[in-house]
């Protein structure tokens, strides 16, 4: 199961994923003693990063040494090397492997808690944008806005102003999306 310090599960490696110029690259940095080893595909390359005289850093990749400038900015790292600048973005594995199919595909807003409708801002058939407030409900002294969870058209308003409802009751539906 294990080889070269990287565990393999049915041929897939949980490596770090980086995007450089809109292309995904996978790599893994492992540590042995004081040294680091870069794993890219089948390549296993010793690497080291040290400070350089006169600013910047010295990056050793295998037998080669290059001078680099590295700047971090949130999720982005800008690397200047050989007269060119590369912007690298780390891709979060939980997001990468998450499936987007089905997200926001539900058609009905259900009551998050029992309460009373205090305002309805839309009519049946009305097109709405994602994030638009559709209805305001009140429960336990709190007003909660029911917002459009996606773009669409209002298919039905199930409860009117002043009407009480139980938790889980349908409040409002959007027309099913074509092809969803």
């Amino acid at each position: 199961m294990c080889g070269a310090g990287v565990s393999r599960i049915s041929g897939v490696l949980m490596q770090h994923t980086f995007v450089i110029a809109e292309t995904e690259h996978e790599a893994w940095l492992s540590r042995r003693g004081d040294a680091y080893t870069l794993h890219v595909g089948e390549h296993v390359i010793p690497v080291a990063l040290g400070s350089a005289d006169g600013g910047g850093q010295l990056l050793k990749v295998g037998a080669e040494t290059v001078r680099v400038l590295v700047a971090s900015d949130g999720d982005f790292v800008h690397v200047h090397l050989d007269g060119a600048t590369f912007t690298i973005r780390h891709v979060d594995p939980v997001q990468r492997y998450g499936s987007h199919a089905g997200a926001g595909a539900d058609d009905i807003a259900e009551a998050p808690m029992p309460g009373v409708v205090i305002a309805v801002h839309v009519k049946e058939g009305q097109p709405v944008a994602a994030g638009e407030t559709l209805m305001v409900i009140e429960s336990m002294k709190l007003e909660t806005a029911i917002k459009a969870w996606r773009e669409g058209a209002v298919a039905a308003v199930h409860v009117g102003v002043g009407q009480a409802f139980q938790r889980g009751a349908p409040l409002l539906s959007l027309a099913p999306q074509s092809g969803a």
Binding site: Q95, P112, M113, M140, K141, E143, T144
Partner: protein, 535 residues
Amino acid sequence: MRRIESKIDIASEEFRLNRTHNRGLADTLKERQRATRRERPARDLERLSRQNKMFVRDRIELLLDPGTPFLELSTLAANTEYGGEVPGAGIVSGIGIVNGREIIIHADDASVKGGAWYPLSVKKIVRTLDIAIENRLPVVHLCDSAGGFLPLQADIFADRYLAGRIFRNQSILSKLGVPQVAIVLGHCTAGGAYVPALSEYNVIVRGTGAIFLGGPPLVKAATGEDVTVDELGGADVHTRISGTADYPATSEEQAIAIARELVGQTPRPTKLDVEQVAPEPPYYDPDELYGVIPRDIKVQFDVREVIARLVDGSRFHEYQPAYGNTLICGFAHIWGFKVGILGNNGVLFNDSSLKGAHFMQLCNQSRVPMLFLQNITGYMVGRDYEHRGITKDGAKMIMAVSGSEVPKITVICNGSFGAGNYGMAGRAFDPRFLFMWPQSQISVMGAEQAANVLADIKIRQLSREGRGLTPSEIAAIREPILEEYRRQSSAYYSTSQLWDDGILAPPDTRNALAMTISVALNAPIGRPHYGVFRM
């Protein structure tokens, strides 16, 4: 950890209106704090300079390491009491850095009624020393008090948490090995004489400093002896003859320099070994909190929008993202310190209560300090919820919060009503620190609900006597109740009574949290253990 994706449109009208409103509240807060710190009647300041004494704020500035942060606590204590004439309850309390060490300051403010201790002054000193005990924080006392405010002596003296508690707390600190340094800058009379006496080290200023159980007038009355202040308890008496004081100083400046040197002699505490990473500013600007908090306390907002503007990189690992969604739980870092966050996103239901109790146990198991972000109207009421055991599920939260060993810090971001205050680490549950935001409200129930309940009782009482009430008579009953309720549930009332450690402008919260988490790590914590969770 992933960045929270904010859903707030910062260009929207709503955001802009909220921002204007909440900025206004923060400006009012800052102006009131400034006035409390600096504005004094001219005659009081003249008296100080005649006595050759420095203003308390200048003493503190001289004591602290230049350029280091000072987190002042309970600045607006007593703001609604004593006719507003005792700013800050006459005491300055706060956490700062002296000679590279985190310390807490208790300073008497002699520009306020000669530094006399009012009931809330005593409460503030006791709280300062409670913080020192809970967080193993060395204390520097700047002593300059006329003694207890005698017209209110009954509210100062005898009860468990009144003046005696100051000296009890000092003794406990010493027993725990947490050093105290006292600087005697004025008279320390009666009980106040014990503050320097119970400190590990003390310094006394020649000419202005004095320590005695009874001052010259009391001695004269008691025994007929004529004695001057200096002969009775001045710097030379105590540093040469009685041994009550350690170091004589020729000026306040020298006394403060000696105190700084003494703090530098104390051992540095070993911090609790919790996870720390390189700090990173939040991706979303903390200033945007002004636009996130709705203008109306009844309007719900997503606490993740608050978390995104408090934590490093706005990154948050959300625990149980699909369960009990009215309580948001998860891990994040604040200035590099790992924290477990519990934030309200609506009423507490059975599932959210269970999630909260479970998450607190996770934090305790992995020794992660907990941050509670309160915006809670309470636990859900009604037959269905009682049948499902909402009371026993709330009890589980209370059991978990009470039994927690890891440090807890609470911020009341908006509403803090009813039992929700308990389950979410309200003051009674010993959070190491508790702060409020300016617009927040705290009471056993909402003002309107309370006014309705009380008006209903009155109406029923009168209808039993066969009398009805006109709408204007009902309003006449409700209005004064509403007004009193609003006053007593405001953040200013809370901070006046020391129900909290101060009101924070929302964008300042991140830095205050970092300082308080850092000092909280001075104290050792035990293995987690709890009482019985009703299942």
